[in-house]
Symmetry: C2
């Protein structure tokens, strides 16, 4: 599809970070990147792995004006036996196209996406960290590149994949966080772009994120923009609650991102015979469960952290402390299982891992 | 403010379009652009007018991922006496900062913005068309340029101004258009970014725009995302209705852009003693006015077109033809007055025009 991927080796390889270096998240990038171009009439063409270098576009390129951009995030892991494997890249490829569809951008062959990512990881295989908990974060994105100020779908796009070695999200084990329940700002709305991994969603969320930090909270818990009651996401993660033995996560209403970690967790819980329900859940229900003592656990889920236990929720200036602010048993088991599969310590029964 | 604007003249001037050339909108750009950079700790710095050239950023620059970008649009006109004047640039400067505030971006001194635009227009003065109805479209924008994949406000930005000679919006006089009333997709929501000229809003609107074209309509009339009844904007313009002698435009609810043409029209109508009200107006009210014969005129307003008469509204598969599909008297008078002021044919009583 789209022809052979052309390869131009970087003649100036960077110094790779050492085993003791603090990698952080998305700050250091590998030696190569993948690029594929689109032009109306011609379609996607000229796939190439080239040296990591600045992207250069006309100042009138639509990406600088109208936010027509979608992205994905996934990870490659080095197993104890030294193999490199990627977590569910087919799911990211599918979601990238769903996001593109919402912003009227052309789809990319999903097999091509997965193969191209595998090839890029192989080229920069030495960048996949071997340190426990570290991984190679992969960032595919599509941007509108036509130079023109008319508001309409771009006729040109670039699909780019860059990669960044990232440290363990939890250097010292899982850490419960404090979350602000946000009732003023909206992240998304039914009929909007909340279900897509669209660039503009993230810009829209920054103001509330800053507000959360001012309240000494790590993130916000978003409520539905319409009823200001239904729970949506926590920061840029999906959210789960364990109430009276049942696990509940908001159903995909169109304004919630269909998380791949979310999907995997629902799968695991079903495997384990733990009741798990996707449905509307309101902040009132959480308050009630908190008050009658049945709110057992709460956690966010996403690619970067896998799971992020919520230690307390700040709602209308009152904190609700969950599970005494400690890490719950379930969230711990989910974390150990998913990271176990990712690093090859636990058998991959579901065929989630793709080797490079 | 920010020091003297450095000037680097373009050694390779482009061939300017001729008087007979079709300029279109935002396709041709002048010889120079203005750039101002921001870095946390240092603030805005290094203002410069330099040759129009591609912008080059690290592939991890936040503009490519998280949509942290706002823009403005305004015009410079050549009067019959050959002077060049800009329509209300102070208003655009103010709004740019309001938009930036919503996306957690740093404000820019408003006097600097206006002065810098004037200076840039002076440098490329030969690009301001003299043809009737044509003008120089000015596009200031601010984009997040920090290279990093963590979702948080960028620590670096660029403010860029580019300019494009544009043709008359109506080559053959005002043209009424057909509009699709959109009830599925949402453009914005209370608590969201609809009140800001944020890049992501425009990407979010494309899908419905394409749908409108499929219905042989020029644009969509957006309904409020929550009640699906209240009118918001038409395409990317504000919207006005004349019902039984009264002019009504949706009030600024937070999800509607505070248009400068909108503001100017409200001002003119008040001057003329025509009743004008900013309030919630629903599609039901429009249907009712249509049915009882009091819906006299409807039009969009914005910088590109000034006014755009609505000839018919397609609502639930039924077209409502307004004023027999003809251009209304009021919309005509507004168009003639505003363009008259812009081209110096009518006295600028309100001090709206700024000479270069």
């Amino acid at each position: 599809m789209y022809g052979q991927i052309r390869f131009e080796r970087n003649p100036h390889l960077k110094t790779k970070p050492g085993i003791q270096d603090d990698l952080g998240f998305g700050r250091i990038f590998t030696d190569h990147m993948l690029v594929l171009d689109y032009e109306e009439g011609q379609g996607w063409h000229d796939p190439r792995i080239i040296p990591y270098a600045p992207l250069s576009y006309d100042p009138a390129a639509m990406i600088f004006h109208y936010g027509q951009a979608v992205f994905e995030g996934l990870k490659a892991f080095r197993t104890e036996s030294g193999e490199i494997q990627i977590f569910r890249p087919d799911q990211n490829a599918k979601r990238l196209n769903r996001s593109s569809e919402r912003l009227n951008m052309p789809p990319i062959d999903e097999t091509f996406i997965v193969n191209a990512i595998q090839e890029l990881v192989r080229v920069d295989a030495d960048w996949v960290p071997s340190k426990q908990g570290a991984s190679l974060y992969i960032r595919p994105f599509v941007i509108a590149t036509e130079a023109g100020l008319g508001v309409r779908p771009s006729s040109r796009y670039s699909f780019v994949v860059i990669m960044s070695p990232v440290g363990a999200y939890y250097e010292e084990g899982l850490q419960p966080v404090k979350i602000l329940v946000e009732s003023h700002y909206a992240r998304a709305v039914h009929g909007g772009t909340g279900g897509a991994k669209a660039a503009g969603n993230y810009a829209a969320s920054l103001k509330a994120q800053v507000l959360a930090k001012e309240h000494d909270c790590a993130q916000v818990l978003w409520l539905d923009a319409i009823d200001k009651k239904s729970l949506e996401e926590v920061g840029s993660m999906n959210v789960f609650f364990k109430i009276g033995g049942e696990v509940i996560t908001p159903s995909l209403s169109g304004s919630i991102l269909e998380g791949i970690t979310r999907k995997s967790i629902i799968h695991l819980l079903s495997d384990w015979g733990i009741p798990v329900t996707e449905r509307r859940i309101s902040i009132d229900e959480i308050v009630q469960a908190y008050e009658n003592g049945t709110l057992e656990e709460a956690f966010g889920t996403g690619t970067a952290a896998v799971v992020s236990p919520i230690g307390s929720l700040l709602w209308q200036d009152t904190p609700m402390v969950i599970n005494n602010g400690e890490i719950g048993e379930l969230v711990h088991k989910l974390y150990d299982t998913i990271t176990g599969i990712q690093y090859g310590r636990i058998a991959d029964k579901h065929g989630w891992m793709v080797t490079c």
